[in-house]
Symmetry: C2
Subunit: 278 residues, 2 copies
Amino acid sequence: MNCIPLMINGLPGNVARIMAESACQDERFTLVPFSLTGEEITLGQVSVDQTKITLLKPSERENKIHEILESYPGCICVDYTHPTAVNDNAKFYVTHKIPFVMGTTGGDRQELERTVKNGSMPAVIAPNMAKQIVGLQAMLEYGANAFPGLFKGFTLQVKESHQQGKADTSGTAKALVACFNQLGTDFNLSDIEKIRDPKTQKENLGVPEEYIGGHGWHTYTLKAPDGSALFELTHNINGRQIYVAGTFDAVVFLKNQIDTNAFEQKLFTMIDVLTSGK
Amino acid sequence: MNCIPLMINGLPGNVARIMAESACQDERFTLVPFSLTGEEITLGQVSVDQTKITLLKPSERENKIHEILESYPGCICVDYTHPTAVNDNAKFYVTHKIPFVMGTTGGDRQELERTVKNGSMPAVIAPNMAKQIVGLQAMLEYGANAFPGLFKGFTLQVKESHQQGKADTSGTAKALVACFNQLGTDFNLSDIEKIRDPKTQKENLGVPEEYIGGHGWHTYTLKAPDGSALFELTHNINGRQIYVAGTFDAVVFLKNQIDTNAFEQKLFTMIDVLTSGK
């Protein structure tokens, strides 16, 4: 496969930086030395693995994009920017016919989908790039639809631990709780136990020191009230590597779509990326 | 609902006894005071919850069954006998037009299915009556078919603990390992860690004292080799209560089939019982 030119937007943000660093070391990709950023960012350039990346604010990007696309034909964008930028960025990509992977959460998701469907190029939109978690969630959704009430009478307990900076409750935990409730439990989202204290994470849960600042650990416990049965599901993610792998799979999926598809379908999710492996 | 006459076959065996005791206390059922047993059993009667149950050997049952069916019209049989009795018992039920739940494992399963299909009454055949485990297995089978290779590169570790008398490897563990391998792991069934030592069960796993003699605990651990992700699934069953509940659900399902169905389908599994809850 020829190298896919990859423009990673959202630098100097943390996730975009990890994606850019990983892209530099991945022979499937060529990192495009430009990145869309926010109007409020004062930096003009950042270095990623010895490559100088020029940051482009919204007010600057229209003037530059044609030159970029000429230098990097077949360029695919990866978006890890900010919820407030999601919809504008999507319109920018569609206007300039750039296929993209939207890894940023938030914004108006329905408008985002409309933008893609009204455009001419394919995009993968995924609030969670961790393939295995997406697959797990799909399995539980299947079970919840096929066997509603399977765990009727069971109690549910949910614990999730993330880096201290994450204020809101885990979106994955909320999605899975919805499945468990369809399976018969009676669990309130406000009863999800959020663990954000680094000391507790390290000493009680055993989160490795190096991942205290970036992890997503989840455990769901279903118990029969008479003590006759316990079911437990755990998914512990350390660092961002799993999101990098999923994002890059989505990029390769898009490239294959572009190479083979008549673009009847333009809007894709991680489920499409997963099932394409069949 | 009128009481369903329930004939529990396999007394004085342990599982049949638990089923019979539970049936006595369940207002949905009337326990029929007869039970098919093996030719080698020397007891003539057993007591279950103050009810005397007459044991019928294969050589005695043909002479008695008409009288039983006249006294208990609409009787449904539950079979927890012995692998060597599975096929003969099924033929006996079909010959006498008795709907049945086959909870006994082993025997010639293809012949068993043929027997039911060639008969005129419905039957539920289920090697595992624990509804939640059957449902869980269905979810994993769905995932394995939809997302083959999802856990490619992950290592799998499987531990299962059962009462000391269980010599073979857990059938559930083997079935789930097949799913995980389809999901991308490369795991050999012989690497399933079988725990049968009561001391280890109590001290290392924490199996409650009263369930050392009857439990089925399973844990499957998937790890990304770089330590970036861990997925773990546990299902711990204590005692037989979960099998009683599933078996009785299967009986009620059969009763509903008989009351409403034209018997186009005669052979059912626990998946049919589960989805009937929709």
